[in-house]
Symmetry: C2
Subunit: 117 residues, 2 copies
DNA sequence: TGAACACTTTACCCTTCGGTGAAGTATATC
DNA sequence: GATATACTTCACCGAAGGGTAAAGTGTTCA
């Protein structure tokens, strides 16, 4: 799997609120959560949760371990790093545009003052 | 539009390589790029590019300004900030797991040394 | 052994997504 | 006025996405 595909998958995972909630839950519970516990808070049936877990798995964001009849799901956030790195490039741009906005506001302010309005 | 919906849309934008390429291009050219210039490097027809631009627009990631018959597209990266903030929560987790990995490796190392292998 | 439990798989539904060809609109340019 | 340019809209297509009900598998417990 190349970088492009990895980014596609991780960002696709993150574009769904249910999956983000699952990730957030796993982040809080480092020891892992069973599939049914993960499903409980959501208003969807188990098979739908299964599909979400498959998507998370394909993106490499979780690991699953079966013990007896229960499956423990754990977070594997490493693939998020690449996504974060990708986004980081735009960080300077936000600050830059905020700076520009501030500069503009200031210029406007001075202009107004000079005009004696 | 609430936060959940904004995150859905921004991450959905980012899950497509063509759209990431468009964003990257716009990041390099701060003065804006025309629609046809944006489309040129991609092996898809204009209507497809249009749809990508609509998706970017709906997520608030670009602005479009028509002058004569050409439309200039500019980056508006502010909505990415929220997405980045969301991801940032997992940053500590990467470092944490890297730390744990390092600790494990070190323990293993000592163990091996003690055993005199 | 039989029933309950914790998933998992299958088959299906409807909607959204990413793409196309073709036709349409508005603005240059000759 | 005719033609080229720069989009834009429309109608369509096949694949993928998120959901369901129902049936299946393996484990635990009485």
């Amino acid at each position: 799997m190349n970088q492009t595909e990895r980014l596609d998958r991780v960002f696709a995972v993150l574009s769904d609120a249910t999956r983000r909630a699952i990730l957030a839950r796993l982040e809080r519970e480092e020891r892992g959560v069973s599939v049914s516990d993960l499903a409980r808070p959501h208003a969807i049936k188990l098979p739908a949760v299964m599909k979400h877990l498959d998507v998370l798995d394909d993106a490499g964001l979780i690991t699953r371990a079966k013990t007896g009849r229960t499956v423990t799901v754990r977070l594997q956030p490493k693939p998020m790093r690449e996504a974060m790195e990708w986004l980081r490039r735009y960080e300077r741009f936000w600050s830059a545009s905020l700076d520009r906005l501030a500069a503009y506001a200031e210029a406007k302010e001075n202009e107004t003052r000079k005009a004696g309005k």
